[in-house]
């Protein structure tokens, strides 16, 4: 088995056996498979039918669906953790998605590419074009990412929504890095959050 991406490996370490987890946008099921091996009750939502079929073929419980629409069908507090890895920037309304995460889950893990990463800033500043990088690998017109976000933006959104940030991790070149200067130094970030205001 190939090594998990560092944000997923961190999530895996943080979730205790026996927990109930919903992995939103679970892709090929790598995190779910690792969680299941750790006796975690993991369920997934994935929009790509091919990915879902291969997850089911591994014995994982994955529902094909669109998180923007289908998360609403899950009951309140059904999970100990909701996981949204590298998907927040594709949500129609990231603020509502955050509220949904903390409605269906007691806590949530959210990771996303940091648009304020210095290489991004440099690309935009020097070339005047939307950056294409390892973590945002396609051109602006064909990307699924419709709401680019920075570390600072996310922290402010959490504050606005009354969401408590429990822990945060920052990564660059697929290695964890210290938090200092994360908003310009981190390629991507992972937050563990809880709480939140009741939905309006």
């Amino acid at each position: 088995m190939t090594a998990l991406r560092p944000d997923l490996a961190t999530i895996l370490r943080r979730i205790e056996p026996g927990a109930r987890v919903l992995d939103i946008g679970c892709g090929d099921g790598a995190l779910m498979a690792a969680l299941t091996a750790k006796d975690v009750d993991a369920r997934g939502i994935e929009i790509d039918g091919g990915c879902v079929a291969s997850c089911v073929a591994q014995g994982l419980s994955v529902v094909q669906g669109d998180a923007d629409r289908d998360l609403a069908f899950y009951p309140d507090g059904a999970f100990d953790y909701a996981v949204l890895s590298q998907t927040l920037q594709t949500a129609a309304r990231p603020d509502r998605m955050m509220q949904e995460l903390l409605r269906v889950g007691r806590r949530a893990f959210v990771s996303f590419p940091n648009f304020a990463y210095w290489r991004m800033r440099w690309a935009l500043l020097s070339r005047g074009r939307m950056p294409v990088t390892r973590h945002l690998p396609v051109s602006w017109y064909e990307t699924d990412n419709i709401h680019h976000v920075t570390v600072r933006d996310f922290e402010l959104l959490a504050e606005a929504l009354g969401i408590a940030i429990e822990r945060r991790w920052f990564f660059t070149r697929d290695r964890e890095m210290p938090a200092g200067g994360a908003n310009w130094r981190a390629e991507y970030a992972l937050f563990e959050v809880s709480g939140g205001l009741p939905n309006p």
């Binding site: 009750d41 369920r43 039918g49 091919g50 879902v52 079929a53 291969s54 997850c55 089911v56 073929a57 591994q58 014995g59 994982l60 419980s61 994955v62 529902v63 094909q64 669906g65 289908d70 069908f73 899950y74 009951p75 059904a78």
Partner: protein
């Protein structure tokens, strides 16, 4: 590999109508061995015009079993590891008690046969499992009407199956579904040969009506793209239009053949009873109006599969079931597979389906 078997249920079968059916015979086939723990059985439920010959030749047509693609040694439903059971539903005509069965007075039941429901069919299947000494299935599997039975078993006998795999199916028959069935039933009953259902032993029965019913139903099993691919507007055995009502188009000729071939192997009254059972099917109604409630007591893992070209039981029907299962926090998988064959996709070569079935059954 298998021997046709049947048994008589030891007790009368209570029915949803309030009646009960005595002396119920169930015809079934099994493949692969039941293990010592008796926990490796997979019950496969057949569709409307299907039968117990899932992986063995049909006794009338000689054609291969209807799911031979999926069932066998080393196949997704692996008979080397699992004991596969497939039984003919009550109300049908392949050996289980139905309208063609001779009643206690020596004459066929015909229309005296009580109206049965999907839940009644499942009660009979569970009674069969009791007789076979199988307390808990490794899985119950079915497509179309077979999927309805699988879901009904999960809802009504929540501890009898560890896995529930329902393919190209629904939790309730829609008005459109009922309308198509009514069209078929009216075609049968309008045939003078039907004779109020009393045609057994007569020189001619309602074959024409049954053929029309099958033709209409067959259209609902295919997709427009599939029909266009296969036939387009091509003419059958001729260069130009004949300006008459012969089977001029290939698609007409194909449908006439499908209709006629069906009358050789199926009983018209059984078609009436089984379509009626499907039309009555509504799992939510059985549970007091909430589909989620229907599944609350189940401890099974579920897997739903739909096909993108199926307009008879479209993906939205499967999603509806998935949302209900989520609402009561049941472990459920769901995938919409892409296949060109419409509703019939569950019977045809869709390799992705094989992978899902194999993976889910474990």
């Amino acid at each position: 590999m298998t021997a046709p078997r049947s048994l008589i249920l030891p007790r009368p079968l209570p029915l949803d109508s309030g009646q009960s059916l005595g002396h119920v015979e169930i015809a079934f086939e099994t493949y692969g061995d039941l293990n010592a723990a008796r926990d490796n059985a997979i019950l496969v439920c057949h569709a409307l015009t299907g039968d117990q010959h899932i992986a063995s030749p049909h006794p009338v047509t000689g054609k291969p079993g209807w799911w031979e693609r999926l069932v066998g040694e080393g196949k997704p439903i692996d008979t080397a590891r699992h004991h596969v059971i497939c039984a003919n539903v009550i109300g049908s005509c392949m050996g289980s008690t139905g309208p063609a069965t001779v009643a206690d007075d020596g004459a066929p039941y015909a229309m005296r046969f009580p109206v049965v429901t999907i839940r009644d069919m499942v009660r009979a299947l569970v009674a069969l499992l009791d007789e076979l000494g199988i307390a808990r299935l490794h899985a119950v599997v079915g497509g179309s009407m077979g999927g309805m039975q699988a879901l009904s078993l999960a809802a009504n006998f929540p501890d009898r199956a560890a896995r529930v795999l329902a393919i190209a199916t629904t939790s309730r028959h829609s008005a459109q579904n009922i309308a198509f069935h009514e069209l078929g039933r009216q075609a049968i009953m309008a045939d003078p040969g039907w004779n109020g259902g009393d045609y057994y032993g007569a020189a001619e029965g309602p074959e024409k009506g049954l053929a029309v019913a099958r033709m209409a139903a067959h259209i609902t099993y295919l997709s427009e793209a599939g029909l266009t691919d296969k036939f387009g507007r091509r003419l059958q055995d001729r260069e130009a239009k004949g300006f008459n009502f012969d089977a001029e188009f290939q698609v007409e000729s194909y449908l006439r053949y499908q209709g006629l071939a069906f009358t050789d192997r199926f009983d018209a009254n059984a078609y009436l009873y089984i379509t009626r059972a499907m039309d009555y099917f509504d799992l939510a109604e059985e549970a007091g109006g909430s589909l989620a409630e229907a599944f609350r007591r189940s401890d099974a893992r579920f897997c739903l599969v739909s096909f993108d070209t199926d307009w008879l039981y479209p993906t939205s029907e499967s999603r509806h079931i998935v949302h209900a299962l989520n609402a009561v926090a049941k472990p459920v998988s769901f995938v919409e597979l892409s296949a060109p064959f419409g509703h019939d996709s569950f019977l045809l070569d869709v390799p992705e389906l094989d992978r899902v079935v194999e993976g889910f059954l474990g």
